[in-house]
């Protein structure tokens, strides 16, 4: 049963990783480890900051 679901679970994990949905959870983990003294950003604030950051430092993309 569990094994049969594994491909779907992997696909779901991949989708969440690649779309950036998981980014906040990862941020929380890192933040907890490095700055336990400071309050982490809220989910909305984190995504807003991340989005602005991404497009204000444009890497590039291909045509």
């Amino acid at each position: 049963m569990n094994r049969a679901l594994q491909p779907f679970r992997s696909a779901w994990w991949y989708l969440k990783e690649i779309s950036g949905e998981n980014a906040y959870d990862r941020y929380l983990a890192i933040h907890g480890a490095t700055h336990p003294d400071r309050l982490p950003l809220g989910r909305g604030e984190f995504y807003r900051q991340r989005q602005d950051e991404k497009y204000n430092n444009p890497g590039s993309r291909c045509p």
């Binding site: 994990w13 991949y14 989708l15 969440k16 990783e17 690649i18 779309s19 950036g20 949905e21 980014a23 906040y24 959870d25 990862r26 941020y27 983990a29 890192i30 933040h31 480890a33 490095t34 989910r43 909305g44 984190f46 995504y47 807003r48 991340r50 989005q51 602005d52 950051e53 991404k54 497009y55 204000n56 430092n57 444009p58 890497g59 590039s60 993309r61 291909c62 045509p63």
Partner: protein, 709 residues
């Protein structure tokens, strides 16, 4: 022992399959060749190249070291620096490099037959394109993610660096104009297309508000909603095109060009969350989804390719009728850039991706592997164009001056080219895809869409074909991510310009200073908008004038990247492996400079800008109307366009020569030992990560405590 034998037996098998497929492609008899041979020839070649060549480069040439901490590990801040799971990073990198380029180029090059394009895509990616991506990714990673421009300045010198900067800005502007022109050609006089694309604006706005305020960070949720609405928009376009609103949604090329220019300006000035970010999600999902669908479609249908191996244009001194006009060498090699060798990738491989790598050895999978995948996309685009009847292909891609614009005149023009297609077939194909006409729909996108729709319709025959839906699905997918590139590219150009002007007038350097934002955006939009409008109104067909400039500019950037890579290899003391980057560099330089030579000096007015200019001037002075033009004003327009394009060709050619000459000076010094190799790598630090391929857990405190060197 037996194990090792087994492993080699597999690779010998792969090599044999590949050789068989290549044999059938090159020598097989019969009228048509099945696309399956091409597919497997490509897959077998890629597999062997990845297993053996990329491994050799990683281990021997670059010397990847998994004990050395990557910038993602050392500088991990959970944002731009972060060791990312290699499969996720592969996806990001692939999505960033795979744009409209690999789809358009192979379609245009198919006029020479399917073999020249196929050979260049497959050989080019293995020996040049993937090498460029992988080496630049590695060198940028060793330098904490420095950009190509920075590396050019530090490793070669200020002259090379400045030429690189000029190349980047110029390519950006020409590229945006060409891509926008492709969209204009696909949407002009098409109420269905115009409506569906217009609907992406309210959809993006809705998604933007949802993602920013209602449900922040729920990207998958909002993307699912967006894709659903997008499909509705395509279906809605079909209704519009059959309703009495059809006329209201029918726009001329100039109107659509102006709309795109206004849109580009607004999207560049507005905050990203309003339009750009949501469209980015939509286009990424559509892009990956459509590529997967195309692969499945081709695998199910295994269509036969109607295009011959070589058309007679492959050996003609002036090439074929489809833009860009010119002989096979060098023009096929600048027409197909993305998919074989694309300088633009070096901008992505230096910058974002290197900061996210977990382990040095992964540059092989991400740099080389992702480029092979993009090349595979180009192969599929080539197949989609070649399954079309060649007569139909030429009726769609020859310029209006040749086809005359009607089905009857196009049919007779095509038979003049040595192919045949009936006027009925042309009318029926147009009706099947829900368009009023498909004659001279140049630019590659409509041809690809027709090819894709035939494959998809055959694969979904049990649903009743749906060819018109699939055609507009393909158009939507191409237009969507071309327009996303236009948004994003304008923005990138705007930042570069603000940075440049900021050196003279300080406030400009601040990206969020509104007047600076507006002025820089306007300048960039005006620059590509100029070329777009010129292209749309060009009496000779804008694609023919602009596409070679785009190809040359892109390959110029590749020359800069390969020059940087060669210089760094020399500084690393890898003289005996220098051919790895030097051979593709020499090839690229020869191709680009030969193409520039043709564009500047050719005495054929369809190829040489200055020949065209002087003939048009003679006609103008004599009070005559130049071939292709309808009026005296159009003759004057041809003179202006040929002058601008010709001068640009000279600038590009000079930039290549300057970069290579400046680097050669450095190389000579290094080889003769007069110059100390000043390698600019970040200092060595032992890696603490032992992850390799396992699903990445959030990285703990152990690695982040020592992140300040």
């Amino acid at each position: 022992m037996g194990n090792r034998f087994g492993r080699y037996a597999v690779w010998i098998g792969v090599a044999l399959v590949g050789a068989l497929c290549w044999g059938v492609l090159a020598l097989g008899r019969g009228e048509t060749v099945n696309a399956g041979w091409l597919l497997f020839a490509a897959l077998a070649s890629f597999a062997i190249a990845y297993r053996f060549y990329s491994r050799f480069i990683a281990n021997r040439v670059l010397g990847v070291d998994d004990n050395r901490a990557t910038p993602g590990e050392r500088l991990n801040n959970g944002q731009d620096f972060e060791p990312m799971d290699r499969r996720v990073l592969f996806g990001h990198h692939f999505a960033a490099i795979a744009g409209a380029g690999p789809l358009v180029g192979p379609v245009l090059a198919a006029q020479m037959g399917f073999l020249p394009g196929t050979l260049w895509i497959i050989v080019g990616v293995i020996l040049a394109g993937a090498i460029q991506d992988m080496t630049i990714l590695f060198f940028s990673m060793r330098r904490d993610g420095k950009s190509l421009g920075q590396m050019a300045r530090e490793e070669i010198g200020p002259v090379g660096g400045a030429a690189a900067l000029v190349a980047v800005l110029a390519i950006m502007i020409i590229l945006l104009a060409v891509l926008a022109l492709v969209v204009v050609n696909a949407l002009a006089d098409s109420p269905w297309g115009a409506f569906s694309i217009a609907m992406t604006l309210p959809i993006a706005l809705l998604m933007g508000v949802y993602l920013r305020f209602l449900r922040p960070g729920r990207i998958l949720e909002v993307s699912a909603i967006g894709v659903g609405l997008l499909l509705l928009a395509i279906i809605g376009g079909g209704w519009i095109s059959e309703s009495s609103y059809a006329e209201a949604w029918t726009f001329s090329g100039v109107t659509i060009a102006i709309a795109i220019i206004i849109y580009g300006f607004v999207a560049s000035v507005l905050p990203v969350w309003v339009l750009l970010a949501p469209r980015d999600y939509l286009s990424t999902f559509m892009k990956i989804g459509t590529i997967v669908l195309l692969a499945i479609g081709i695998a199910i249908i295994l269509p036969a390719m109607q295009m011959p191996r070589f058309t007679e244009f492959a050996s003609a001194a002036t090439g074929g009728p489809v833009a860009p006009v010119g002989p096979l060498f060098p023009f096929v090699f600048i027409t197909i850039a993305c998919g074989a060798l694309s300088g633009f990738h070096s901008l992505i491989a230096s910058g974002t991706t290197p900061k996210l790598i977990q382990k040095e050895s992964q540059v092989r999978m991400i740099g080389y592997g992702a480029m092979l995948m993009e090349s595979f996309v180009a192969v599929m685009a080539l197949i989609a164009a070649c399954v079309l009847d060649p007569g139909l292909y030429f009726a769609m891609n020859a310029p209006a001056a040749l086809t005359g614009g009607t089905a009857e005149s196009a049919a007779s023009a095509v038979s003049g080219l040595g192919f045949s297609v009936s006027a009925d077939t042309l009318n029926n194909t147009a009706a099947n895809v829900g368009e009023s006409s498909i004659i001279s729909r140049t630019g590659g996108a409509p041809t690809l869409a027709v090819g894709m729709s035939e494959i998809f319709a055959a694969a979904t025959a049990f649903l009743g074909g749906l060819q018109a839906f699939w055609y507009h699905f393909a158009i939507m997918f191409e237009a969507l991510f071309i327009l996303t590139t236009v948004d994003a590219g304008t923005r990138v150009g705007r930042f570069m310009l603000q940075d440049l002007i900021g050196n003279i007038y300080r406030p400009f350097a601040n990206a969020s200073w509104l007047p600076g934002n507006i002025i820089a955006s306007a300048l960039i939009v005006a620059a590509w908008g100029y070329f777009l409008v010129v292209g749309v109104t060009d009496p000779l067909g804008g694609i023919n004038q602009l596409f070679p400039l785009f190809g040359i500019a892109n390959q110029l950037l590749a020359a800069v990247a390969l020059t940087v890579a060669t210089t760094i290899l020399l500084k690393m003391g890898k003289l005996k492996y220098i051919w790895v980057t030097l051979v593709p560099l020499v090839w690229d330089a020869v191709v680009t400079l030969t193409a520039s030579w043709y564009k500047i000096f050719s005495s054929d007015p369809r190829i040489g800008f200055f020949q065209q200019r002087s003939e048009a001037i003679d006609a103008y002075n004599a009070g005559e109307i130049y071939t292709g033009a309808q009026t005296v004003e159009q003759t004057a327009q041809i003179i202006t366009n040929a002058t601008v394009d010709g001068v640009l060709s000279i600038v590009f050619a000079l930039a290549i020569i300057i970069v290579i000459a400046d680097a050669a000076r450095v190389w000579v010094g290094l080889i003769w030992g007069r110059k100390e190799p000043d390698l600019q790598e970040a200092s060595y630090e032992e890696s603490q990560l032992d992850v390799d391929g396992s699903i990445l857990e959030p990285v703990g405190a152990g690695t982040s405590s020592n992140r300040n060197e």
